[in-house]
Amino acid sequence: MAGRSFASRLVVGTGKYKDLPTTAAAIEASGAEMVTVAVRRVNLSDRNAPMLQDYVSPTRYTYLPNTAGCFTADEAVRTLRLAREAGGWNLVKLEVLGPAPTLYPDMPATFEAARALIKDGFEVMVYCSDDPIAAKRLEEMGCVAIMPLGAPIGSGLGVQNPLMIQMIIEQAKVPVLVDAGVGTAYDATFAMELGCDAVLVNSAIAMADDPVLMARAMKAGVEAGRLAFRAGRIPRRGAASASSPMTGLIK
């Protein structure tokens, strides 16, 4: 993707963990090579607070700065310009959300921000609605990866609209990642079985009772789903088909 290769098809977020050591341990267990990060003001009243970079090395992991918290295209562009200055990374995750309780992608604002970021030299991985027309348009604009939501952010409901996700995958010439909605390992497996290139998971790992164990489960789930996709599943059928031959039975 965007001229880079990754062995892992699991991208993980670094938010919502109870502390930075747990963040580091879970990311290690997930096998992910790419992690999403947010850009925020330095806390001037607690300047010695530990920093993410001390636990999740930007030289070991590909940092993917996001635009979480940005509700307009202007804010998104401003945030990612700062991220580029802080880390020198051109590869970014664009997300422009509507208000709670849906936090659904605001597609007009997403288009506007994507256009501005691409013009500014960014390689944009874009969080978007599960709308094949919008996904195609983002690809044509030059986005390097399309990331439709499986379900609302943090909902843990799994892929709610598999048909649309599959249509997006089938038409795309750039990688498709299911972003948002994964609740447990089989949701990640299911997304991968649909044929997507990778899955992005944050809450399902960070908020699990044991984040490190869930990170391992997600890793295995993504691998299983990818293998099953490549293997080609049997068709679903409405009648039984015996597994053992019905010939040569003893009399």
């Binding site: 977020g13 963040t23 999403t36 925020r40 003001r41 979480a68 880390g87 809450s203």
Partner: protein, 101 residues
């Protein structure tokens, strides 16, 4: 009051001091005390006139490799920190990476 707390916590900088009357009333006007007022991450601070971005980061004891700086909504490239002076009334944003999804 926040500005006072911040300045007191910057142990290395005894010359830093604040004047609440100035903070309240005449934020943008340079004066002859050698100090100027500006906002860093939304918080009022009194800083020596002529201080550069590099000087500010040093005073705040931040790791220059882990932050990015905006001055009045313009990115200040890291290579220019030592040359870009701050001005009275500036709005400075200093950001870094934190956990996010």
């Amino acid at each position: 009051m926040r500005a006072f707390a911040i300045l007191n916590s910057a142990s290395t900088v005894e010359s830093l001091r604040t004047n609440f009357a100035r903070l309240a009333g005449r934020a943008r006007r340079p004066d002859n005390t050698g100090m100027m007022e500006l906002h860093v991450n939304g918080e009022a601070m009194a800083l020596p006139q002529g201080l550069t971005v590099a000087g500010l980061i040093a005073q705040l004891e931040l790791d220059i490799r882990k932050v990015a700086v905006e001055r009045n909504r313009e990115i200040v490239p890291r290579s220019l920190y030592a040359q870009v002076p701050l001005g009275a009334g500036d709005e400075i944003e200093i950001v870094h990476f934190i956990g996010g999804g």
